[in-house]
Symmetry: C2
Subunit: 219 residues, 2 copies
């Protein structure tokens, strides 16, 4: 297959994807709103992202290599996969026009009919595990790529399946001190990646890794 | 004071300073030797490092910005601070001519007379805690800088004291899946850093952070 499975996330310097106490209902709880803002400061500056969420952010924003990466990430993606906790938080906070614009496969034990949103996003609830969700996502994406959106536990699951081709991390100079940590559940045989590219920004360092050629366990 | 307190360490992509099962007596245990080798591959290539340990590595090696960083790290350092576990592992594995060439303050509950090694390294065993060790190191270092060598728990302690001015991380594209993780014991108020410089290598990304100006709690 020629489509790629990729991860593109922001990470605190101490390795967290989300700060402790992050619940949409209370942004002041344990200061999580400020931490999340520091983690995402690089993204909120980008012209392409602002344009996508224009009602929130207005026009303007930076153009350049980071903005190009943001655009490329959105444009290459033909399907998303996420965990139930991420979906639950998003369900109460995404705008009606959910920011995916592709099929989204939600890993869950809950049975639920597909949820169609305006703008091309449809959430499918998958009960048969991560490999089945990936097969559905590949079928839906066609020649486009599949993004493993999160959370941390779901990304770790796909890394353990050796299903991730590309790992893109925006490493932000912020400490969370607690929360949901990425790479906490990795198991042997450990995935193998090599450095592909680094793009420097003032609010994050954009690290791009690709699977070391010849190391895939289930081609 | 004009001398700086700095950390300069290698970190696996999943945030570990040392792989699980790392004991000098058995390099094959849990494959730790191979993991450590992958973490340190960038360093072992550098001309300055090879020269320092010429009996082990012979001559040759890369010159360039990473090599310059390695030289600068050694040359700027007037005193080291480390934990007892790091010392214990080193005691059985460092060459007679220990690789520090400065006073080294070892945080420990054990009482022991200073241990003088050829080549300018003397180990002092400090029982009065990290702040006292830092005061001794500052005095010994004069205008030179103080390196917090490790392990992870000691670096976290100095970060929690807000005593670290510069944080230099060689982030290697390797997963450990377990071991001694850095940034595991941080507590509020969390230290604040900003990106200063990034130097790209093929075997590690060299991230340099400096304390955000005006945020030091105990100037």
């Amino acid at each position: 297959m020629s489509n790629k499975v990729f991860v593109n996330i922001a990470l605190s310097l101490d390795g967290y994807m989300a700060p402790e106490g992050m619940t949409m209902s209370d942004p002041a709880h344990k200061n999580w709103g400020a931490k999340w803002g520091a983690l995402m400061a690089w993204l909120i500056k980008q012209q392409y992202f602002r344009h996508l969420l224009r009602p929130l952010f207005g026009d303007g924003g930076e153009t350049g290599p980071v903005n190009d990466m943001v655009r490329h990430t959105f444009e290459r993606t033909g399907a998303h996969i996420m965990g139930k906790r991420m979906f639950d938080q998003g369900e109460v906070s995404w705008p009606e026009n959910a920011p995916f614009h592709t099929p989204v496969y939600v890993l869950t034990h809950e049975k639920r009919a597909p949820w169609v949103r305006p703008g091309g996003t449809t959430f499918y609830f998958v009960n048969e595990g991560p490999e089945h969700a990936l097969a559905l996502a590949r079928q839906a994406a066609g020649a486009a790529d599949i993004r493993i959106s999160g959370g941390a536990d779901v990304i770790d699951q796909y890394l353990n399946l050796d299903a991730v081709d590309e790992l893109e991390i925006a490493l932000a100079p912020v400490f969370f001190g607690g929360g949901r940590r990425l790479f906490e559940q990795l198991s042997d045989p450990l995935p193998r990646f090599q450095i592909d590219e680094v793009v420097n920004g003032s609010a994050a360092t954009h690290l791009r890794y690709v699977r070391t050629p010849g190391t895939q366990r289930n081609p």
